[in-house]
Every structure is written in C-alpha cells, then in structure tokens.
C-alpha cells in the first residue's frame, strides 16, 4: 500500500449515498493498491463495502428511523480496514443463518458475502448503543477464491 492513514467520514445512512460512496471507495483503493496486482481483491473490498453500507441503511435504520453512518477507512501495513459505526438496531451475527445457495432468494446474502470476501469480520454492540462493524483485508495478490478451489 502506498501510505498509512486513517480517513473518517460521517454520512446519512441513506441508500442514495451508496453510489457516490462506492465510486469514492473504489477510486481510493485503486490509488492505494499499487502493490496489489489482482483487481479481484479490489472487487471484493468494494463488494464488502457496498454490502456493509446497504445493511446499515436497510436493517440498522429503516424507512421510519434515520441516522448517520460513521465510516473509518484505515490503511496500514498492506492491510485495509473498514470500521462502520451506526446508532440503529443491532443484531447478533451468530444468529444469522448462512444462506441456502440452492434456493436463491432476493436477500439475505450481504452478511455471508462480507465474511466470504474479507479476511476478518467482527460486529459488536457497545454499551452506549453504538453498533460497530469491522472488516479487514490484506491488500496483496489474492489467494484463490473458495469457488476457484472448489
């Protein structure tokens, strides 16, 4: 990675923000990833970002409950970390069943996909009500994906 830094932005957790944020994050990762010659790593990070932000908009908040999403992007020692904080409804990721991929559905893939494409996933609800999702990815040439191994 080109440099170590932390970037912090606060945005309304609204779906209309997803597109500009997605373009921004993609562009940022591409700029940082001069040691990463595999575009599929960038694709995966972009996917995880999109899934995480969409989940906050759709599940933490809702049509009747609005609030912010605080997004920290941390670049450090070839590792990229996203920390998403929201103040909406939390959940227990252990209670979310993995999707049955033999029965395609309209939704329910986001959390599973984040775990598939990132190196590390953690989610916790703090005592003050903040929900904190952390995603990490080593920004080096990717290992074969699960489907490539399968």
């Amino acid at each position: 990675m080109r440099s170590n830094f932390t970037l912090k932005i606060e945005v309304p957790a609204k779906i209309f923000m997803l597109r500009p944020l997605g373009f921004f994050v993609r562009s940022l990762i591409e700029q940082l990833s001069d040691n990463c010659d595999a575009s599929d790593v960038i694709d995966r990070v972009e996917l995880a970002f999109s899934e995480a932000f969409t989940n906050i908009c759709r599940h933490a908040y809702s049509a009747t409950r609005e609030g912010p999403a605080i997004i920290e992007i941390i670049s450090s020692n070839d590792q990229l970390t996203f920390v998403f904080t929201d103040f909406g409804k939390g959940f227990d990721p252990e209670k979310v069943m993995p999707p049955n991929l033999d029965e395609p559905r309209e939704g329910g893939l986001g959390l599973w996909l984040m775990k598939q494409v990132m190196d590390d996933y953690s989610y916790r609800t703090e005592s003050d009500g903040r929900n904190v999702l952390t995603l990490r990815k080593k920004m080096t040439k990717s290992m074969p994906s699960p489907m490539e191994v399968a």
Binding site: R19, D43, R105
Partner: protein, 109 residues
Amino acid sequence: MQVQAANGVTVISMDERFDATIAQKLKDTVKSLAEREQTRLVIDLSQTRFIDSSGCGALVASLRVLMKNKGDMKIAGPSAQARSLFQLTRLNRVFEIYDTLPEALKSFS
C-alpha cells in the same frame, strides 16, 4: 438503466453500478413489463462493472416474475466481477448467461 424492445424481446441495459440504488427500479420495471405481457427479457450487463447482492436479488426477483408469467430472462455480457459473484452465490446455475447481447437475443429465436 435503459429499456428497449425489438422483435418481441425487451432489453434492459444496466449502468456501471448495479446496487441497491437501482435494484427496486429494475424490479418495478420488470413487474410492469410482465403486466403488459412483455415477458421475454435480456438483462444487458455489458456496461456494468460492479454488482452486489442487491443487484443479484433484483435479478432473482425479476426471473421469478417472468417465469410466473410464462416468460424468460437471459443475462448478457457480465463482467469478471459479476461472473465471480454469480459463481460464489451459485446464481450461475440459476441464470442463463451469454457472453454478448447478440448471443442472448439469438437464444430467443
């Protein structure tokens, strides 16, 4: 998102990003097409660099609506990122996928 119809087949061309910002619009459009009995559809992804699970969900919903109305849906020109996501989610077993739009259109003839 652009919608065009020719020779009994409707082509919906998706934009560079296919995510939650556009997923509902696709579902509404396909539902409207099905109500008008325009149920032979190609989703053209040749301009789509990025798709996420919301995009995939909209495709699943669209296929269901069309099948329910005795129609069909083909996917044309997915990027490497889209193909990778279809494989990971096994939607490559559900969708009929063609490399190019002309190939997808030809499959209806």
